[in-house]
């Protein structure tokens, strides 16, 4: 991914295509009698996602079979937050998707970094927190309160862990 564009079979005649300025109907260069949709590639400046572990070179073991490798391929700068940092990860040690360090620019040690979502194999989504988040998102006022409590009002990741991660999730990781 991250190539200039990809051909797509589909979308012709839809209202989706009308709104997508990054997709066009063009002649097939190898057979001009037939037209096809091409989609311009998404090339984000930065991608950031969470994984299970990284080694010191930036090789990643996602812990699950992930689509995020496409993000790593497509983005110009790739930041991966991880539950743990270990000495060495090879494709053989990797659980689930392996992302080689050549695609990764930065790693951040951030235990429970997926919270309130889950990290496959380690901890489940925090359903109580998720429900509170959904409730808070229903008005601008309550959402700002949520942001104040869990994002802007917090000075460090450790503080977030102490305040927001319930004990039953903490118990799942040593």
């Amino acid at each position: 991914m991250g190539v200039p564009y990809v051909p797509i079979i589909g979308l012709i005649g839809t209202d989706i295509l009308k709104r997508r300025l990054d997709m066009k109907i063009v002649e097939n260069p190898f057979n001009p009698d037939v037209k096809t949709v091409v989609a311009q590639s998404l090339r984000p400046d930065i991608a950031i996602f969470h994984a299970q572990s990284a080694d010191k070179l930036g090789n990643i073991s996602c812990g699950y079979d992930a689509e995020v490798v496409m993000l790593a391929e497509g983005a110009k700068h790739v930041i991966v937050t991880v539950e743990s940092v270990v000495d060495k990860i090879t494709e053989k040690d990797s659980v689930g998707t392996y992302i080689p360090s050549i695609l990764v620019n930065s790693i951040v040690h951030a235990p429970y970094g997926a919270h309130p979502s889950g990290c496959a194999g380690l901890y489940d989504p925090d359903k109580v927190h998720m429900q509170a988040y959904v409730k808070a998102s229903q008005s601008e006022e309550t959402f700002q309160e949520y942001l104040k409590k869990y994002v802007h009002g917090i000075s460090s990741h450790e503080e977030y862990i102490d305040m927001a991660i319930p004990d039953h999730i903490k118990k799942t990781i040593k």
Binding site: I9, G10, L11, I12, I16, N28, D65, E67
Partner: protein, 246 residues
Amino acid sequence: MMTTNMNTYNPVELMVVLLSREVRDNEISACGALSHIPAAGMLLAKELHARNAELIILNSIFNPFKTSRQFHYLAQRGELGLFFVSGVQIDQYANYNLHQLGPDHAQPDVRFPGGYGGGLIYYAARRSVAFRTEHTKRSFVENVDYISAAGSSPEDTLRLGGPSKVITPKVTFMFNRKTNRLELESIHAGFTLEEIVNNTGFAVSNEHAIQTAEPSELELYTLRNIVRQRMINTNTYAKWAENSLN
């Protein structure tokens, strides 16, 4: 419950059986997320007439792929024989709408999650069978409010397949590739043409409509025993199977 001289079955079981008959042996069939009825239909076909069919039921153990990229390119290569799809609205041209309701696209009355890959697979799978559990004038309309996928497209555009049938609790429509419109193929037992006309938002042509072949004893037995248990054991819409297939 429908009662006929032979068997009693519920509308869900009827739809599962009708969808299962669309699955062909030695072909790859697939359905997307939240597709209980097609999932059961595919598993039923595999027990009966399509023992060598390959099935892809997303978000279940019946999926050979680890990433959606692999599924996407399988379909784009033209290797997908049959895809099951649903829409909030379906129109006379077999366009379907999974996105939003209301005349103004910028200010929709209702917004739905949309369809992830249906707008691609409807063009790439050799056949698509659309299903809808509600057969009313609000679900079967003259023109959908928003086209998530189009039933047909211009001759000079690359398309590997398209809709073949639309199945509801009342009828089966067939897609006529010459006129690019849906035609009544068959009416399920217990319904009259008048009821169909009164509950369909577009003009129903009935020249060739016959009565739908009812679920057989073998189909119902296999569904209620083998398929139901298989769905429970493999955690494939297990709760739904437990409650709906009996």
